[in-house]
Subunit: 413 residues, 2 copies
């Protein structure tokens, strides 16, 4: 199939593009490099060095003999979207191309507005371009399990049958997202559902859990095929960051009680799920939702597993939760639809954690301990980034944050 | 109380400002004149002539001895929002300042994107300014009954208790909005709910039905205090437009079967509801939802009532529905919370319809029959406005649309 991967230069987009290419699909990648720009803004970098997109594509061609077509531009530019679809003529579009960090969206007003406009407008432009050029294109869109929040009933896959005052209907599952980022995904979901209804588009909304891992079969083939590994307080996700913290000799800092539960999955399962969705398209006019995670863990369980596996001593430290979220909550979420399509999950094992620790050790000298601290506070309307405090102009602040409150533990990206 | 009315130059914003002023509140109005700009874009005008905002405020001062403070600017300009709140120091903010036409949002991609960005960003800027300056300000936000769609169960006021697999929770009512405009209101609702949760803001979301009527106690005091009366295919709402059609000698054109049911209310009840919400504020951290309508009617019932009341002959004609919506559907929506606060509704009567017909007759020579036709098609990604066909440069098209397919019947604004 001809598959266009939007956000194909990112943490998951790039390994997805490689995986689909290797599995025989004709792949194009679209990226604006917004993700690399956020690094410049925050003064941080991927723990694992990454090559330019052009270099990656070239190296993939040398290693595999397969071609991936790069398209450089931004989804908020409607003309670019239209021209790219017209040039590539995809049968399926995998859409990762959104600002995906909850803390980034909560920095201040301008980051909240940026996140919602960027994500919602990019997706609207895409929906219009699909409807106008070829409504049979299957849109595979990345959502998040964080759209649901933590209701006191079982979470279903996108829809729920409700019996109320003697009548019955199947309705969109109520959403209680926990950041302006998660809200942007809820907005997208509503917009996509509507576009399927009025224009007969076909879409799969993948409500993904938190992804861990850094290596896939394809990225391991050459150092220039490596994908990002984020450990900073804004873009780093919980398990990857715990492993870096252990290697850096920091306490594993858990937000609040640590009893918060999250759905999670291995990066290799992300690739498998995307391929299953692409090769089993939604029907014309169908908007379907898959919950894309394989296991649920509390933050405490994750910290405990890293502590058990790490060969040295690891301290676990509970810090004030920068987020506003329920700490003690019911959590049971359906995730059978991808299993029904044939997913065979990689369960989280000591070996997986050892692999992550190994990556962190290899690039130990690239760890910036200042960047680890989670400084974005949900209760504040404006936060200062941890890395802003290490400016040479403010020498009295240099290093202080690291010693007194180095923290980690964001449960969601 | 000090009340700031956003969108205070519009159809409902202006009469609300007058009403609150007369009832002893200290009132400021904010407007960017976006609504007047849409008229220029479409080449249409309010049936009833309206004065400039500056003139209106001046006339109100002469008639009542009361001052209304005007602030001219756009909510998407965060600095303007911050400065206006700092200058006026409101205790309550009534927020009408959004693009409020479903057909306008469905014209094409750029109008869909404009509607969602304008509405969502304006409201986000407002939430941040309230949180930063004074979280005790009560936000009274206009939503729409169209957020709910037409589920096969009773519609509740914002939240629903769901029992599922032996467990129970009260969750946000599932939304199935029917246009990119209605979607923008759903996005707003989710954003506001979240802001109340994390910052302790207090908000009332008024899911309003379709408003009919043009005169209120205050606007009737002087011709320069009149509010808009829209009858065109984009901004005109169903009952107001049926009355204009009857006067213009056109068939009352009903979309599809006409069995679609909508919640409706008298313009005077809008003012009463707003005042009830303002004088009974939500608690700190509370996000509450009131369904603001008083009666439900099908399009066929409304057309029949106008036909019964109009002294001449009226033809009723069913046309292909330009919208994508269920025509036969269950509809029962709760609306007791405003009654509990003391609302005494004006029920729709022959006398009300006579009043509307009287207004239409007085300004009969201002009716542009070309503008009535609903040309925005939900199933298309780009539509041409009815008024675009009457350009002098295309004489062969002039008038053709009027004779062959003059239509009316948009159920929602």
């Amino acid at each position: 199939m001809r598959v266009l991967v939007l956000g194909g230069d990112g943490y998951l987009g790039w390994p997805t593009a490689l995986h689909l290419s290797r599995r025989g699909h004709e792949v194009g990648v679209v990226d604006s490099f917004a993700r690399r720009q956020y690094d410049f803004e925050m003064g941080v970098d991927s723990l694992v060095p990454i090559a330019t997109l052009q270099r990656r594509v070239h190296t993939w061609s040398k290693v595999s003999g397969l071609h991936i077509a790069p398209f450089i531009g931004d989804l908020t530019d409607a003309t670019f979207v239209e021209r790219t679809l017209a040039a590539f003529e995809p049968e399926a579009i995998v859409h990762f191309a959104e600002q995906r960090s909850a803390p980034y969206s909560m920095i201040d007003r301008s980051h909240a507005v940026y996140t919602q406009v960027n994500n919602v407008v990019g997706t609207l432009n895409l929906l219009y371009a699909i409807a106008e050029q070829d409504p049979s294109i299957h849109l595979v869109k990345l959502g998040t399990m964080g759209e649901y929040g933590t209701p006191n009933i079982d979470i279903e896959e996108g829809f729920i049958e409700i019996t109320h005052k003697g009548r019955k209907d199947i309705l969109p599952y109520p959403k209680q997202p926990g950041s302006f980022y998660h809200l942007s995904k809820v907005h997208d979901s509503h917009n996509i559902m509507f576009a399927c209804r009025i224009w007969g588009l076909r879409a799969t909304d993948l409500n993904q859990g938190i992804v861990y891992g850094q290596q896939t079969e394809e990225t391991s083939l050459h150092p220039e095929l490596a994908t990002r590994f984020d450990y900073d307080g804004v873009f780093g996700t919980v398990l990857n960051r715990f492993c870096v913290q252990a290697v850096a000799g920091h306490p594993l800092t858990v937000y609040g009680q640590g009893s918060q539960i999250r759905g999670m999955l291995d990066i290799r399962d992300t690739l498998a799920c995307i391929e299953l969705a692409v090769t089993h398209p939604a029907d014309k006019g169908e908007y379907r939702v898959f919950n894309q995670f394989t296991e649920s863990f509390s933050l405490n369980e994750l910290a405990g597993m890293v502590s058990d596996v790490y060969p040295g001593t690891v301290e676990i430290s509970h810090i004030d939760n920068p987020r506003v979220e329920r700490q003690e909550h019911y959590y049971r979420a359906a995730h059978t639809k991808l299993l029904d399509l044939g997913l065979v999950p990689h369960m989280l094992s000591g070996q997986t954690i050892e692999g992550l620790i190994h990556v962190a050790e290899r690039y130990r000298d690239r760890i910036d301990p200042v960047a680890i601290k989670p400084t974005v506070q949900w209760r504040h309307t404006a936060s200062t980034l941890a890395t802003a405090g290490s400016e040479p102009a403010v020498p009295e602040a240099f290093g202080v944050g690291v010693e007194t409150s180095a923290t980690i533990g964001s449960a969601e990206g």
